[in-house]
Symmetry: C2
Subunit: 183 residues, 2 copies
DNA sequence: CCACCCATGTAAGTGGTTACATGATTAG
DNA sequence: CTAATCATGTAACCACTTACATGGGTGG
């Protein structure tokens, strides 16, 4: 039950239409809560029905016409309530770790290439995050909002750093297993 | 599409009944691919229907009677195929990071307690992983299977280490924001 | 006027969660 | 005999994914 709250956050940062939201999810919020345009449109209608957001009155609401939304007071309250509410962490699900465990039983044949590919994907994401950090969070520190957003970005940077390092470690292990295997 | 493969892996490690699998998911495989007993029973029947596993012939198949399964050759092949197949990483979804970003807009009121709670949960999980490491992977290194399984465990240890450290960092930041706020 | 992109939407299917049901076995 | 627990199962629901549809505007 987090997508509506992701959308409320994005709309509070800046009122937007569905497609604008979709793009911002691709670049920013989506780094830790991804969503497709189908999900976003559905949820926007639901939030409007619940009275948490409203369409900006400006224009004609025809199909194919841009429709921007803003958050109402009830929406801001709901977001504050959700943010403060105690929530248990979701159980983990990571397919790559599962595949490695499977490989311990059925063999590592073919896995190494994909590990290498994942390493590159994580390295690229890490570089993206670092660019955002250079651009948006220069050394002289800003206000409370900036510091919180920087904290979130640091989590992304540290997570991608972890994955690239761990995958390097895994690939080194694979190389050694190969050598032993050929002996 | 990973739950069937998680089950195949677990059954190859040791043929088991549904409930035994459920318990093992709670302790081990579930650390990176969680599943409830309902999911597991449903999937076991599906895998049996597809001819990837079979019920061990021993006993009467009545309701309330234990029924153990083992993996057939076709199941092992399917697992090997899946393990080697290239797969894209799933888009991230982390509610805690989302809440922090929301807090940058609606305020941090009430969040700190839950951050502290999460920190303790991650610290506890880290301790659990470390105990497993001491018990199952003593310094003198074992064969290829053990090294792969150890690699997976290391990912768990490093991830929980990251989270505890990041949450410490976040809590320190909160403490500082509080001081500034009161000035 | 045609191809392409913008913007919003529908529909079907999958995987996971939550709540509940039921028979068998065991401890007190 | 009863309550608790073991073991398996059903059903409803919800979030997300994937594939497709449709109207409006714009450039060649």
């Amino acid at each position: 039950m987090s997508l509506p709250h992701a959308i409320l956050t994005a709309l509070l940062e800046k009122p937007s239409s569905g497609l604008e939201l979709t793009r911002r999810f691709d670049r920013s919020i989506g780094y830790f809560w991804s969503a497709t345009h189908q999900q976003i449109y559905r949820e926007l209608r639901k939030l409007e029905g619940e009275g948490l957001i409203r369409a900006l009155p400006s224009e004609q609401p025809a199909r194919g016409q841009k429709k921007a939304y803003e958050v109402l007071a009830a929406g801001r309250e709901e977001l504050a309530r959700w943010t403060a509410a105690s929530q248990d962490p979701k159980p983990q699900r990571d397919a790559l770790l599962l595949r490695l465990r499977a490989a311990a039983v059925v063999g590592t044949e073919g896995l190494e290439d994909d590990l290498r590919r994942h390493r590159e994907l994580h390295a690229r994401q890490l570089e993206t995050y670092r660019e955002i950090e250079r651009r948006d969070f220069p050394p002289g520190r800003g206000g409370a909002e900036d510091r919180l957003r920087h904290l979130v970005l640091r989590a992304g940077i540290d997570l991608e750093t972890f994955w690239t390092q761990w995958l390097d470690h895994a690939l080194a292990e694979f190389a050694e297993l190969d050598v032993r295997g050929r002996e």
